[in-house]
């Protein structure tokens, strides 16, 4: 009998276990996660949860009955600290809590940990990160404390901007400090970045680009042995941005410690092939921790590590099939979303390697899109408050279809009607 050990009780880990059962695996499956909570969804932590619209129950992924009914042993609140494989491929994992787990199959869905700010002063009270449920459980009430007026968000990516939007909606004075020359610079084109800069400023948030943070400053401890509270963030030009609360959202780092112990190849994450198999040919990895061959658009080359629910689910499906000896390659079109104030951003595809963009609609209307092209072919789109058009693009990309750039710019024609099949045109 096989025993599958899945390390990381997250969206990818749960999906992997679920798909193994769907594919007919009846052997032992153990899913272990270091957090004390049962597996939950992360995206709401910086959205509905911070807005106090959700309770912990609302973000739980599966009921206890589901785990029991599917014969999946869930271990929460214990961390795998060592893992090794014997020459026959089976192996042993040991945990912080003293468990020794024998396995024949191993899946790493270890995710990513929050990137820490390295300047002085991050240990003042009132400096927060936002990655886990525990972070959200602390930050949500902290944002509502009556003496918190000035909120500084360090990092102008999705987590930072979503958090800034919530703080602003709570009536706080909000400053976003972004180290780069534009917002969400890692993910979207300049047009979309410029829109978010204008949109957040319109809502009263101050945004500082190219911000060089030298340290976080605070007051003296009120009691011996207790750290004081944050009072501001100092920039390289000497300016101190006042802060009663700081949220740091500067990205995440893939968790590769166990992969490293196994001697697996690592390159910005655990290197996997298109079937989610790691370099030992046995272990699979999925989700935020996995670096896979660029799946899209085909032929682009290179590797990519995606941080999204969609990718966690897709890779987990593939990894499950691979563990059961039925490998199938990644074919999904990645997609992402971000909700900031009343702005719904939906991104379809990956824009890496684009050589042309088309802006559809007027950005200042807060209902527009940016479509990305490579060699005249649609490869991705950022859609703001245009959900139907996002769906049209996503379906077009999934079918290998495109939208001619001139048609994409014409807002009088629904995008859905402009989708064409390049193969049919060539025929």
């Amino acid at each position: 009998m096989d025993t599958t050990l899945i390390v990381g009780a997250c969206q990818a880990g749960v999906q992997l276990a679920s798909v193994m059962r769907d594919l007919g695996d009846t052997d032992s499956i153990i899913l272990i996660g270091e957090e004390a909570h049962r597996p939950y969804q992360r995206p709401p932590l910086s959205k509905g949860w911070l807005k106090s619209e959700l309770t912990p129950d609302d973000v739980i992924l599966r009921s206890r009955e589901w785990f029991a009914g599917r014969g999946i042993e869930l271990i929460s609140g214990d961390r795998v600290v060592t893992v090794h494989r014997d020459p026959d491929g089976s192996g042993t994992a040991t945990t912080l809590g003293g468990r020794v787990i024998r396995f024949t199959r191993l899946a790493l869905t270890t995710g990513a940990s929050v990137r820490r700010l390295t300047v002085a002063g991050t240990d003042y009270r009132g400096v927060h990160y936002l990655r886990d449920a525990d972070d959200a459980l602390t930050l949500e009430p902290a944002l509502r404390e009556p003496d918190v007026d000035h909120v500084v968000v360090i990092g102008g990516g999705f987590i930072g901007l979503e958090t800034a939007a919530v703080a602003r909606q709570l009536g706080k004075s909000v400053t976003v400090l972004e180290a780069g020359p534009r917002l969400v610079g890692r993910v979207v084109a300049e047009e979309t970045s410029a829109f978010y800069l204008a949109a957040h400023r319109r809502r009263g948030t101050e945004v500082v680009l190219d911000a060089r943070i030298t340290r976080i400053v605070g007051d003296d401890a009120s009691a011996a042995g207790q750290k004081g509270s944050v009072t501001g963030v100092e920039l390289a030009d000497g300016r101190i941005v006042p802060a009663d609360l700081v949220v740091v959202g500067i990205g995440v780092v893939p968790r590769v410690e166990l992969a490293d112990q196994l001697g697996l190849e690592i390159d910005n994450g655990i290197v996997v092939d298109a079937t989610c198999r790691a370099s030992d040919g046995r272990t699979v990895a999925a989700g935020d921790c996995a670096s896979m061959p660029n799946p899209y658009p085909l032929g682009l080359g290179g590797r990519v590590r995606l941080e999204s629910v969609n990718n966690a689910l897709e890779q987990a499906k593939i990894a499950a099939a691979t563990l059961l000896g039925r490998p199938e390659p990644y074919v999904s079109v990645p997609w992402f979303w971000s909700d900031q104030a009343d702005l719904k951003l939906q991104i379809a595809g990956l824009s890496t390697g684009y050589d042309e963009v088309v802006v559809r609609g007027e950005p200042d209307s807060e209902k527009f899109g940016v479509l990305y092209y490579r060699d005249g072919r649609l490869i991705a789109a950022d859609m703001v408050n245009r959900p139907a058009e996002f769906m049209a693009v996503r379906h077009a990309l999934m079918k290998g279809h495109t939208i001619p750039p001139d048609a994409a710019a014409d807002v009088d024609v629904p995008l859905k009607q402009s989708v064409i099949d390049p193969a049919a045109l060539a025929a």
Partner: protein, 125 residues
């Protein structure tokens, strides 16, 4: 603080004068699954937490993915109201074309002590 189980929570909620609702999911192939759902939870959440096939809910109910499309049975329509503007737009992009009784099940919150019947489409992506 730990996150409590929704199912445990619903049992504990007996003193909150709310009774569970029953959701009947009929899959495209005719398979029927019946689940007791907690009032306030959506039809999507109730399905996903209990592994009901045919509903994905990738975005967790934030109206971003349209992978929880259902057809609402005639006898349930009166319970569920009509789609909002955003839901209506997303319904234009479902994998299986929308019909008069189409809804995104993340937007249908269960009331107390009701019976719901929905049919899931052949595909969600």
């Amino acid at each position: 603080m730990t996150i409590t189980d929704p199912m445990t929570a619903s049992a504990d909620a007996a003193n909150q004068e709310q009774t569970v609702s029953r959701v009947v999911y009929t899959a495209d192939d005719g398979t029927v699954t019946e689940i007791d759902g907690r009032p306030g939870d959506s039809i999507m959440e109730t399905a996903v937490r209990n592994g009901v096939p045919g509903i994905i809910g990738e975005c967790g109910g934030s109206l971003s993915c349209a992978t929880c499309h259902v057809f609402v049975a005639a006898e349930t329509l009166a319970l569920v109201g009509t789609p909002g503007d955003l839901e209506d737009e997303m319904l234009d992009g479902t994998a299986v074309e929308r019909e008069e009784n189409s809804r995104l099940s993340c937007q249908i919150k269960l009331q107390s002590g009701c019976r719901y019947h929905v049919t899931t489409p052949s595909e969600q992506i």
